[in-house]
Amino acid sequence: MNQTAIHIEQLTVAYQAVPVLWQVGLNIQKGKRTAIIGPNGAGKSTLIKSILGLMTPLTGEVDFSVKDGEWSEYKSIKKSVAYVPQKSSVDWDFPTIVLDVVVMGRYGHLGWFKRPGKKDMALAEEMLVKVGMHSFKDRQISQLSGGQRQRVFLARALVQQAEIYLLDEPLAGVDMKSEKVIMELLEELSSAGKTVIVVHHDLQTVKEYFDEVVFLNREVVAAGSVATTFTEDIIEETYRKDHSVAERVDQL
Protein backbone atom coordinates (compact mmCIF):
# COMPACT_ATOMS: atom_id res chain seq x y z
CA MET A 1 0.00 0.00 0.00
CA ASN A 2 1.92 2.98 -1.24
CA GLN A 3 0.22 6.34 -0.92
CA THR A 4 1.73 9.65 -1.76
CA ALA A 5 1.58 12.46 0.80
CA ILE A 6 3.49 15.10 -1.11
CA HIS A 7 3.83 15.28 -4.86
CA ILE A 8 6.53 17.58 -6.21
CA GLU A 9 6.70 18.27 -9.90
CA GLN A 10 9.32 20.05 -11.98
CA LEU A 11 10.33 22.25 -9.07
CA THR A 12 13.01 24.80 -9.97
CA VAL A 13 14.07 27.36 -7.37
CA ALA A 14 16.64 30.13 -7.71
CA TYR A 15 18.28 32.60 -5.35
CA GLN A 16 18.50 35.73 -7.45
CA ALA A 17 20.11 34.44 -10.67
CA VAL A 18 21.53 31.18 -9.32
CA PRO A 19 19.32 28.10 -9.55
CA VAL A 20 19.50 26.01 -6.39
CA LEU A 21 17.01 23.30 -7.24
CA TRP A 22 16.68 22.05 -10.77
CA GLN A 23 13.52 20.31 -11.98
CA VAL A 24 12.99 18.34 -8.83
CA GLY A 25 10.31 15.69 -9.13
CA LEU A 26 9.43 13.59 -6.08
CA ASN A 27 6.71 11.56 -4.43
CA ILE A 28 6.97 11.47 -0.65
CA GLN A 29 5.30 8.38 0.78
CA LYS A 30 2.59 8.71 3.39
CA GLY A 31 3.31 7.18 6.78
CA LYS A 32 7.01 6.76 6.07
CA ARG A 33 10.17 8.36 7.37
CA THR A 34 12.04 9.91 4.47
CA ALA A 35 15.62 11.15 4.71
CA ILE A 36 16.88 13.87 2.41
CA ILE A 37 20.58 13.34 1.87
CA GLY A 38 23.11 15.41 -0.02
CA PRO A 39 26.30 17.47 0.27
CA ASN A 40 26.42 21.03 1.60
CA GLY A 41 24.74 23.48 -0.72
CA ALA A 42 22.75 20.74 -2.42
CA GLY A 43 19.51 22.62 -1.77
CA LYS A 44 18.11 20.42 1.03
CA SER A 45 16.87 23.29 3.18
CA THR A 46 15.66 25.08 0.09
CA LEU A 47 13.58 22.03 -0.81
CA ILE A 48 11.97 22.05 2.65
CA LYS A 49 11.32 25.78 2.46
CA SER A 50 9.78 25.44 -0.98
CA ILE A 51 7.47 22.70 0.28
CA LEU A 52 6.41 25.08 3.05
CA GLY A 53 5.72 27.89 0.62
CA LEU A 54 8.43 30.03 2.19
CA MET A 55 10.09 30.43 -1.20
CA THR A 56 8.51 31.12 -4.53
CA PRO A 57 9.73 28.65 -7.13
CA LEU A 58 10.55 29.68 -10.70
CA THR A 59 8.56 26.76 -12.01
CA GLY A 60 6.86 23.65 -10.72
CA GLU A 61 4.39 22.87 -7.99
CA VAL A 62 3.96 21.02 -4.75
CA ASP A 63 0.70 19.23 -3.93
CA PHE A 64 -0.39 17.63 -0.71
CA SER A 65 -2.70 14.75 0.04
CA VAL A 66 -3.77 14.82 3.65
CA LYS A 67 -7.12 13.10 3.28
CA ASP A 68 -7.42 10.11 0.97
CA GLY A 69 -7.53 10.95 -2.67
CA GLU A 70 -7.81 14.71 -2.27
CA TRP A 71 -5.05 16.92 -3.59
CA SER A 72 -4.62 20.40 -2.21
CA GLU A 73 -2.21 23.30 -2.22
CA TYR A 74 -0.11 24.12 0.83
CA LYS A 75 -2.30 27.07 1.79
CA SER A 76 -5.42 25.02 2.40
CA ILE A 77 -3.72 22.29 4.46
CA LYS A 78 -1.25 24.54 6.29
CA LYS A 79 -2.42 23.39 9.71
CA SER A 80 -1.62 19.78 8.86
CA VAL A 81 2.05 20.53 8.27
CA ALA A 82 4.50 20.98 11.15
CA TYR A 83 7.96 22.40 10.61
CA VAL A 84 11.03 22.10 12.81
CA PRO A 85 13.62 24.64 11.64
CA GLN A 86 17.33 24.36 12.30
CA LYS A 87 17.80 25.24 15.94
CA SER A 88 20.38 27.85 15.01
CA SER A 89 17.67 29.85 13.27
CA VAL A 90 16.49 31.60 16.43
CA ASP A 91 18.06 33.64 19.23
CA TRP A 92 18.01 31.38 22.30
CA ASP A 93 18.62 34.34 24.56
CA PHE A 94 15.06 35.48 23.86
CA PRO A 95 13.30 36.17 27.17
CA THR A 96 10.94 33.22 27.37
CA ILE A 97 10.61 29.81 29.00
CA VAL A 98 10.42 26.30 27.59
CA LEU A 99 6.67 25.85 28.08
CA ASP A 100 5.98 29.12 26.23
CA VAL A 101 7.96 27.99 23.20
CA VAL A 102 6.05 24.71 23.04
CA VAL A 103 2.69 26.47 23.36
CA MET A 104 3.65 28.50 20.25
CA GLY A 105 2.99 25.29 18.33
CA ARG A 106 -0.71 25.82 19.09
CA TYR A 107 -0.77 29.33 17.64
CA GLY A 108 -1.48 28.09 14.13
CA HIS A 109 -4.64 26.30 15.28
CA LEU A 110 -5.71 29.25 17.39
CA GLY A 111 -5.40 31.72 14.53
CA TRP A 112 -5.25 35.48 14.98
CA PHE A 113 -6.04 37.06 18.37
CA LYS A 114 -7.25 33.97 20.24
CA ARG A 115 -5.14 33.21 23.30
CA PRO A 116 -3.98 29.70 24.25
CA GLY A 117 -6.30 28.09 26.79
CA LYS A 118 -6.09 25.29 29.33
CA LYS A 119 -6.31 22.60 26.66
CA ASP A 120 -3.37 24.08 24.75
CA MET A 121 -1.32 24.27 27.93
CA ALA A 122 -2.17 20.69 28.87
CA LEU A 123 -1.21 19.48 25.40
CA ALA A 124 2.09 21.36 25.56
CA GLU A 125 2.89 19.77 28.93
CA GLU A 126 1.98 16.34 27.59
CA MET A 127 4.37 16.73 24.65
CA LEU A 128 7.11 17.99 26.96
CA VAL A 129 6.75 14.73 28.87
CA LYS A 130 7.08 12.85 25.58
CA VAL A 131 10.35 14.52 24.67
CA GLY A 132 11.60 14.09 28.24
CA MET A 133 11.76 17.81 28.96
CA HIS A 134 8.87 18.28 31.37
CA SER A 135 11.10 19.01 34.34
CA PHE A 136 12.57 21.88 32.31
CA LYS A 137 9.26 23.54 31.50
CA ASP A 138 9.90 26.69 33.53
CA ARG A 139 13.53 27.08 32.49
CA GLN A 140 14.74 30.03 30.50
CA ILE A 141 15.54 28.68 27.04
CA SER A 142 19.14 29.91 27.01
CA GLN A 143 19.94 27.42 29.77
CA LEU A 144 19.28 24.40 27.52
CA SER A 145 21.90 22.29 25.76
CA GLY A 146 21.79 21.80 21.99
CA GLY A 147 19.97 18.48 22.24
CA GLN A 148 17.46 19.87 24.73
CA ARG A 149 16.74 22.83 22.43
CA GLN A 150 16.04 20.44 19.59
CA ARG A 151 13.69 18.39 21.77
CA VAL A 152 11.81 21.56 22.72
CA PHE A 153 11.45 22.40 19.03
CA LEU A 154 10.17 18.87 18.38
CA ALA A 155 7.63 19.25 21.19
CA ARG A 156 6.48 22.50 19.57
CA ALA A 157 5.90 20.58 16.34
CA LEU A 158 4.12 17.73 18.15
CA VAL A 159 1.50 20.01 19.72
CA GLN A 160 0.48 20.99 16.19
CA GLN A 161 -0.90 17.46 15.82
CA ALA A 162 -0.07 17.59 12.15
CA GLU A 163 -0.18 14.95 9.43
CA ILE A 164 3.15 15.90 7.85
CA TYR A 165 6.34 16.72 9.77
CA LEU A 166 9.29 18.47 8.13
CA LEU A 167 12.53 18.61 10.11
CA ASP A 168 15.68 20.45 9.05
CA GLU A 169 18.78 18.72 10.46
CA PRO A 170 17.22 17.82 13.81
CA LEU A 171 20.23 15.72 14.81
CA ALA A 172 22.95 18.29 14.11
CA GLY A 173 24.97 18.99 17.26
CA VAL A 174 22.71 16.84 19.41
CA ASP A 175 23.75 14.48 22.23
CA MET A 176 23.13 10.71 22.07
CA LYS A 177 20.20 10.76 24.46
CA SER A 178 18.39 13.50 22.54
CA GLU A 179 19.05 11.73 19.25
CA LYS A 180 17.48 8.57 20.63
CA VAL A 181 14.44 10.42 22.00
CA ILE A 182 13.92 12.30 18.73
CA MET A 183 14.23 9.26 16.47
CA GLU A 184 11.95 7.13 18.64
CA LEU A 185 9.28 9.81 18.49
CA LEU A 186 9.60 10.09 14.72
CA GLU A 187 9.18 6.33 14.45
CA GLU A 188 6.10 6.54 16.64
CA LEU A 189 4.68 9.24 14.38
CA SER A 190 5.21 7.23 11.23
CA SER A 191 3.66 4.11 12.73
CA ALA A 192 0.65 6.26 13.50
CA GLY A 193 0.42 7.02 9.78
CA LYS A 194 2.08 10.45 9.86
CA THR A 195 4.54 11.45 7.19
CA VAL A 196 8.01 12.43 8.37
CA ILE A 197 10.62 14.17 6.22
CA VAL A 198 14.05 14.83 7.65
CA VAL A 199 17.06 16.63 6.23
CA HIS A 200 19.78 14.30 7.44
CA HIS A 201 23.56 14.58 7.39
CA ASP A 202 24.79 11.35 8.92
CA LEU A 203 25.11 8.56 6.34
CA GLN A 204 25.93 6.00 9.06
CA THR A 205 22.45 6.08 10.57
CA VAL A 206 20.24 6.24 7.46
CA LYS A 207 19.58 2.50 7.39
CA GLU A 208 18.67 2.43 11.05
CA TYR A 209 16.45 5.50 11.14
CA PHE A 210 14.64 5.77 7.81
CA ASP A 211 12.34 3.91 5.44
CA GLU A 212 12.83 6.04 2.34
CA VAL A 213 15.71 8.12 1.09
CA VAL A 214 16.03 11.00 -1.37
CA PHE A 215 19.49 11.76 -2.71
CA LEU A 216 19.63 15.41 -3.62
CA ASN A 217 22.31 17.48 -5.25
CA ARG A 218 20.54 20.38 -6.93
CA GLU A 219 18.51 17.71 -8.72
CA VAL A 220 17.22 14.38 -7.52
CA VAL A 221 19.98 11.81 -8.00
CA ALA A 222 17.89 8.92 -6.75
CA ALA A 223 14.86 8.32 -4.57
CA GLY A 224 13.27 5.18 -3.20
CA SER A 225 13.23 2.81 -0.27
CA VAL A 226 16.38 2.65 1.82
CA ALA A 227 16.68 -1.09 1.15
CA THR A 228 17.01 -0.66 -2.61
CA THR A 229 18.27 2.89 -3.06
CA PHE A 230 20.85 3.37 -0.30
CA THR A 231 23.80 1.92 -2.19
CA GLU A 232 27.49 2.77 -2.41
CA ASP A 233 27.17 3.75 -6.06
CA ILE A 234 24.37 6.22 -5.52
CA ILE A 235 26.02 7.77 -2.47
CA GLU A 236 29.19 8.26 -4.44
CA GLU A 237 27.34 9.72 -7.38
CA THR A 238 25.47 12.17 -5.15
CA TYR A 239 28.59 13.47 -3.48
CA ARG A 240 30.96 13.36 -6.44
CA LYS A 241 29.02 14.46 -9.46
CA ASP A 242 29.32 18.07 -10.45
CA HIS A 243 25.77 19.24 -10.22
CA SER A 244 26.39 22.84 -11.10
CA VAL A 245 23.04 23.81 -12.49
CA ALA A 246 24.37 26.97 -14.08
CA GLU A 247 26.35 24.87 -16.55
CA ARG A 248 23.32 22.79 -17.35
CA VAL A 249 21.36 25.92 -18.13
CA ASP A 250 24.07 27.03 -20.55
CA GLN A 251 23.79 23.77 -22.41
CA LEU A 252 20.10 24.25 -23.08
Binding site: L52, D91, P95, M104, G108, F113, R115
Partner: protein
Protein backbone atom coordinates in the same frame (compact mmCIF):
# COMPACT_ATOMS: atom_id res chain seq x y z
CA UNK B 1 17.95 73.76 45.77
CA UNK B 2 15.18 71.95 47.68
CA UNK B 3 13.00 75.02 47.45
CA UNK B 4 13.68 75.23 43.76
CA UNK B 5 12.68 71.58 43.39
CA UNK B 6 9.42 71.89 45.33
CA UNK B 7 8.34 74.97 43.43
CA UNK B 8 9.22 73.19 40.21
CA UNK B 9 7.27 70.08 41.10
CA UNK B 10 4.15 72.07 41.93
CA UNK B 11 4.36 74.04 38.69
CA UNK B 12 1.55 73.15 36.29
CA UNK B 13 3.61 73.53 33.11
CA UNK B 14 6.33 71.37 34.55
CA UNK B 15 3.88 68.68 35.60
CA UNK B 16 2.48 68.66 32.11
CA UNK B 17 5.89 68.34 30.47
CA UNK B 18 7.10 65.68 32.91
CA UNK B 19 3.94 63.67 32.32
CA UNK B 20 4.51 63.96 28.57
CA UNK B 21 8.15 62.86 28.63
CA UNK B 22 7.38 60.15 31.18
CA UNK B 23 4.69 58.66 29.01
CA UNK B 24 6.97 59.00 26.01
CA UNK B 25 9.71 57.11 27.84
CA UNK B 26 7.23 54.39 28.78
CA UNK B 27 6.19 53.95 25.15
CA UNK B 28 9.79 53.95 23.93
CA UNK B 29 10.64 51.25 26.45
CA UNK B 30 7.69 49.03 25.53
CA UNK B 31 7.89 49.34 21.74
CA UNK B 32 11.69 49.44 21.78
CA UNK B 33 11.70 45.98 23.36
CA UNK B 34 10.63 44.53 20.01
CA UNK B 35 13.38 46.44 18.23
CA UNK B 36 16.16 45.20 20.50
CA UNK B 37 14.88 41.62 20.47
CA UNK B 38 14.66 41.73 16.67
CA UNK B 39 18.18 43.21 16.59
CA UNK B 40 16.98 46.29 14.77
CA UNK B 41 18.33 48.86 17.22
CA UNK B 42 20.58 50.40 14.59
CA UNK B 43 17.71 50.91 12.19
CA UNK B 44 15.96 52.96 14.87
CA UNK B 45 19.08 55.10 15.11
CA UNK B 46 19.09 55.68 11.37
CA UNK B 47 15.37 56.37 11.37
CA UNK B 48 15.58 59.14 13.96
CA UNK B 49 18.67 60.85 12.53
CA UNK B 50 17.24 60.71 9.04
CA UNK B 51 14.04 62.40 10.21
CA UNK B 52 15.74 65.81 10.43
CA UNK B 53 15.74 66.77 6.72
CA UNK B 54 12.08 65.74 6.58
CA UNK B 55 11.25 68.17 9.38
CA UNK B 56 13.11 70.96 7.58
CA UNK B 57 11.47 70.23 4.24
CA UNK B 58 8.07 70.08 5.92
CA UNK B 59 8.71 73.54 7.35
CA UNK B 60 9.93 74.90 4.00
CA UNK B 61 6.70 73.72 2.39
CA UNK B 62 4.27 75.57 4.63
CA UNK B 63 6.50 78.19 6.23
CA UNK B 64 5.38 77.59 9.81
CA UNK B 65 5.66 74.98 12.53
CA UNK B 66 2.58 72.88 11.90
CA UNK B 67 3.18 69.78 14.03
CA UNK B 68 1.42 67.30 11.79
CA UNK B 69 3.20 68.46 8.63
CA UNK B 70 6.63 68.35 10.27
CA UNK B 71 5.92 64.87 11.59
CA UNK B 72 4.79 63.58 8.24
CA UNK B 73 8.00 65.00 6.77
CA UNK B 74 10.00 63.27 9.51
CA UNK B 75 8.27 59.93 8.93
CA UNK B 76 8.70 60.06 5.17
CA UNK B 77 12.40 60.89 5.21
CA UNK B 78 13.12 58.47 8.08
CA UNK B 79 11.35 55.62 6.32
CA UNK B 80 12.97 56.48 3.00
CA UNK B 81 16.40 56.32 4.66
CA UNK B 82 15.74 52.92 6.28
CA UNK B 83 14.42 51.66 2.96
CA UNK B 84 17.64 52.83 1.25
CA UNK B 85 19.80 51.11 3.88
CA UNK B 86 17.96 47.81 3.58
CA UNK B 87 17.94 48.01 -0.21
CA UNK B 88 21.66 48.78 -0.42
CA UNK B 89 22.65 45.91 1.82
CA UNK B 90 20.22 43.47 0.22
CA UNK B 91 21.47 44.24 -3.27
CA UNK B 92 25.04 43.93 -1.96
CA UNK B 93 25.87 47.45 -3.09
CA UNK B 94 27.63 47.99 0.24
CA UNK B 95 27.65 46.10 3.55
CA UNK B 96 24.89 46.80 6.07
CA UNK B 97 27.03 48.72 8.57
CA UNK B 98 28.58 50.91 5.87
CA UNK B 99 25.19 51.58 4.30
CA UNK B 100 23.83 52.49 7.71
CA UNK B 101 26.49 55.02 8.66
CA UNK B 102 26.57 56.47 5.13
CA UNK B 103 22.84 57.09 4.95
CA UNK B 104 22.51 58.14 8.58
CA UNK B 105 25.19 60.81 8.38
CA UNK B 106 24.31 62.12 4.94
CA UNK B 107 20.63 62.52 5.84
CA UNK B 108 21.57 64.17 9.12
CA UNK B 109 24.01 66.43 7.28
CA UNK B 110 21.32 67.44 4.84
CA UNK B 111 19.02 68.18 7.76
CA UNK B 112 21.61 70.48 9.38
CA UNK B 113 22.25 72.32 6.11
CA UNK B 114 18.53 72.87 5.57
CA UNK B 115 18.02 74.04 9.16
CA UNK B 116 20.86 76.57 8.86
CA UNK B 117 19.36 77.80 5.61
CA UNK B 118 15.96 78.21 7.29
CA UNK B 119 17.46 80.10 10.23
CA UNK B 120 18.99 82.60 7.82
CA UNK B 121 15.56 83.35 6.42
CA UNK B 122 13.67 86.41 7.68
CA UNK B 123 10.85 84.19 8.92
CA UNK B 124 10.04 84.51 12.60
CA UNK B 125 8.11 81.26 12.58
CA UNK B 126 11.28 79.22 12.48
CA UNK B 127 12.15 79.93 16.12
CA UNK B 128 12.51 76.69 18.03
CA UNK B 129 12.96 74.52 14.97
CA UNK B 130 16.47 73.65 16.14
CA UNK B 131 14.91 72.08 19.23
CA UNK B 132 14.48 69.00 17.11
CA UNK B 133 18.23 68.38 17.21
CA UNK B 134 18.77 68.03 20.99
CA UNK B 135 15.16 68.09 22.11
CA UNK B 136 13.39 70.64 24.27
CA UNK B 137 10.55 69.24 26.28
CA UNK B 138 9.64 72.62 27.78
CA UNK B 139 8.18 73.58 24.41
CA UNK B 140 5.61 70.85 24.94
CA UNK B 141 2.01 72.04 25.00
CA UNK B 142 -1.11 70.46 26.42
CA UNK B 143 -2.06 69.47 22.87
CA UNK B 144 1.30 67.69 22.45
CA UNK B 145 0.81 65.73 25.66
CA UNK B 146 -2.69 64.85 24.53
CA UNK B 147 -1.32 63.64 21.19
CA UNK B 148 1.33 61.51 22.90
CA UNK B 149 -1.32 60.02 25.19
CA UNK B 150 -3.76 59.18 22.40
CA UNK B 151 -1.17 57.61 20.09
CA UNK B 152 0.42 55.94 23.11
CA UNK B 153 -2.81 54.31 24.22
CA UNK B 154 -3.45 53.08 20.69
CA UNK B 155 0.05 51.56 20.56
CA UNK B 156 -0.32 49.87 23.95
CA UNK B 157 -3.69 48.42 22.91
CA UNK B 158 -2.07 47.09 19.73
CA UNK B 159 0.66 45.42 21.79
CA UNK B 160 -2.04 43.76 23.88
CA UNK B 161 -4.19 42.69 20.95
CA UNK B 162 -1.29 41.28 18.91
CA UNK B 163 0.63 39.98 21.94
CA UNK B 164 0.81 36.36 20.82
CA UNK B 165 1.46 37.25 17.18
CA UNK B 166 4.22 39.79 17.91
CA UNK B 167 5.82 37.37 20.35
CA UNK B 168 6.09 34.43 17.97
CA UNK B 169 7.12 36.72 15.10
CA UNK B 170 9.87 38.31 17.18
CA UNK B 171 11.16 34.96 18.44
CA UNK B 172 10.93 32.88 15.25
CA UNK B 173 9.63 34.76 12.17
CA UNK B 174 9.86 31.76 9.84
CA UNK B 175 7.87 29.58 12.21
CA UNK B 176 5.30 32.37 12.62
CA UNK B 177 4.88 32.40 8.86
CA UNK B 178 4.31 28.64 8.71
CA UNK B 179 1.75 28.99 11.52
CA UNK B 180 -0.22 31.24 9.22
CA UNK B 181 0.69 34.69 10.50
CA UNK B 182 1.56 36.90 7.57
CA UNK B 183 5.02 38.25 8.18
CA UNK B 184 4.43 41.25 5.95
CA UNK B 185 1.46 42.38 8.06
CA UNK B 186 3.33 41.88 11.35
CA UNK B 187 6.49 43.48 10.01
CA UNK B 188 4.47 46.46 8.79
CA UNK B 189 2.69 46.86 12.13
CA UNK B 190 5.88 46.67 14.17
CA UNK B 191 7.74 49.11 11.92
CA UNK B 192 4.86 51.57 11.93
CA UNK B 193 4.65 51.45 15.73
CA UNK B 194 8.38 52.05 15.96
CA UNK B 195 8.20 55.01 13.57
CA UNK B 196 5.32 56.53 15.54
CA UNK B 197 7.19 56.30 18.84
CA UNK B 198 10.33 57.85 17.39
CA UNK B 199 8.36 60.67 15.81
CA UNK B 200 6.52 61.38 19.05
CA UNK B 201 9.85 61.84 20.78
CA UNK B 202 11.58 64.01 18.19
CA UNK B 203 10.61 67.38 19.65
CA UNK B 204 11.25 66.62 23.31
CA UNK B 205 14.24 64.26 23.04
CA UNK B 206 15.65 65.24 19.66
CA UNK B 207 16.71 63.29 16.57
CA UNK B 208 20.21 62.51 17.87
CA UNK B 209 19.26 60.85 21.13
CA UNK B 210 15.76 59.51 20.52
CA UNK B 211 17.03 56.11 19.42
CA UNK B 212 18.88 55.71 22.72
CA UNK B 213 15.60 56.09 24.57
CA UNK B 214 14.10 53.38 22.36
CA UNK B 215 16.95 50.92 22.89
CA UNK B 216 18.18 51.62 26.43
CA UNK B 217 15.22 50.72 28.66
CA UNK B 218 14.78 47.22 27.22
CA UNK B 219 18.52 46.52 27.39
CA UNK B 220 18.43 47.41 31.09
CA UNK B 221 15.18 45.50 31.68
CA UNK B 222 16.49 42.33 29.99
CA UNK B 223 19.06 41.99 32.79
CA UNK B 224 16.41 41.57 35.47
CA UNK B 225 13.89 39.15 34.00
CA UNK B 226 13.59 36.20 31.64
CA UNK B 227 10.02 36.77 30.51
CA UNK B 228 8.94 38.93 27.59
CA UNK B 229 6.12 40.51 29.61
CA UNK B 230 8.58 41.26 32.40
CA UNK B 231 11.14 42.83 30.07
CA UNK B 232 8.49 44.93 28.42
CA UNK B 233 6.88 46.11 31.66
CA UNK B 234 10.19 46.94 33.29
CA UNK B 235 11.41 48.70 30.14
CA UNK B 236 8.28 50.83 30.35
CA UNK B 237 9.03 51.69 33.99
CA UNK B 238 12.68 52.54 33.26
CA UNK B 239 11.60 54.64 30.28
CA UNK B 240 8.97 56.45 32.33
CA UNK B 241 11.38 57.42 35.11
CA UNK B 242 14.11 58.38 32.61
CA UNK B 243 11.62 60.81 31.08
CA UNK B 244 10.40 62.31 34.36
CA UNK B 245 13.77 62.55 36.14
CA UNK B 246 15.46 63.78 32.96
CA UNK B 247 12.90 66.54 32.65
CA UNK B 248 13.40 67.57 36.28
CA UNK B 249 17.17 67.76 35.84
CA UNK B 250 16.88 69.71 32.64
CA UNK B 251 14.45 72.20 34.20
CA UNK B 252 16.67 72.78 37.25
CA UNK B 253 19.61 73.86 35.15
CA UNK B 254 19.60 76.76 32.77
CA UNK B 255 18.97 75.98 29.15
CA UNK B 256 19.97 72.33 29.34
CA UNK B 257 18.20 70.49 26.51
CA UNK B 258 15.94 67.68 27.75
CA UNK B 259 17.18 65.01 25.34
CA UNK B 260 20.65 64.65 26.88
CA UNK B 261 19.41 64.62 30.49
CA UNK B 262 16.75 62.00 29.76
CA UNK B 263 19.28 59.80 28.00
CA UNK B 264 21.81 60.27 30.81
CA UNK B 265 19.29 59.15 33.42
CA UNK B 266 18.49 56.17 31.24
CA UNK B 267 22.21 55.34 30.96
CA UNK B 268 22.37 55.21 34.74
CA UNK B 269 19.60 52.58 34.68
CA UNK B 270 21.47 50.65 31.99
CA UNK B 271 24.86 50.74 33.70
CA UNK B 272 23.38 49.81 37.07
CA UNK B 273 21.49 46.90 35.51
CA UNK B 274 24.49 45.63 33.57
CA UNK B 275 26.59 45.49 36.73
CA UNK B 276 24.21 44.67 39.53
CA UNK B 277 21.42 42.50 38.09
CA UNK B 278 21.06 39.36 40.22
CA UNK B 279 21.62 36.64 37.60
CA UNK B 280 22.94 38.25 34.44
CA UNK B 281 24.87 41.12 36.03
CA UNK B 282 28.61 41.42 35.33
CA UNK B 283 29.53 41.36 39.02
CA UNK B 284 27.53 38.21 39.65
CA UNK B 285 29.05 36.62 36.55
CA UNK B 286 32.56 37.55 37.66
CA UNK B 287 32.04 36.09 41.12
CA UNK B 288 30.67 32.79 39.87
CA UNK B 289 33.49 32.55 37.31
CA UNK B 290 36.09 33.05 40.04
CA UNK B 291 34.40 30.46 42.22
CA UNK B 292 34.43 27.99 39.36
CA UNK B 293 38.11 28.63 38.69
CA UNK B 294 38.97 28.21 42.37
CA UNK B 295 37.13 24.92 42.40
CA UNK B 296 39.03 23.60 39.35
CA UNK B 297 42.29 24.83 40.84
CA UNK B 298 41.65 22.93 44.04
CA UNK B 299 40.76 19.80 42.14
CA UNK B 300 43.92 20.03 40.05
CA UNK B 301 46.08 20.58 43.13
CA UNK B 302 44.42 17.68 44.85
CA UNK B 303 45.27 15.45 41.90
CA UNK B 304 48.86 16.68 41.74
CA UNK B 305 49.43 15.95 45.40
CA UNK B 306 47.86 12.56 45.04
CA UNK B 307 50.24 11.79 42.19
CA UNK B 308 53.29 12.98 44.12
CA UNK B 309 52.46 10.73 47.02
CA UNK B 310 51.84 7.86 44.70
CA UNK B 311 55.17 8.50 42.95
Amino acid sequence: MIEQLTSLLSDYTFQLVALGTGFLGLLSGVIGTYATLRKESLLGDALSHAALPGIAIGFLFIGRKEWIVLMIGAAVSGLFATFLIQWMSRKNVVKFDSALSLILSSFFGLGLVLLTYIQDQPNANQAGLDNFIYGQASSMLLSDVRMISIIGIVLLVLVGVFWKEFKVFTFDPVFAQTAGFSSSILQFLLSTMMVLVIILGLESVGVILMSALVIGPSVAARQWTDRLSGVMGLAGVFGFFSGVIGTILSSLGKQIPTGPTIVLVMSVFVVFSLFFAPNRGLIRKYISQKKQQQMYKKQMEGKKEGKEYAG
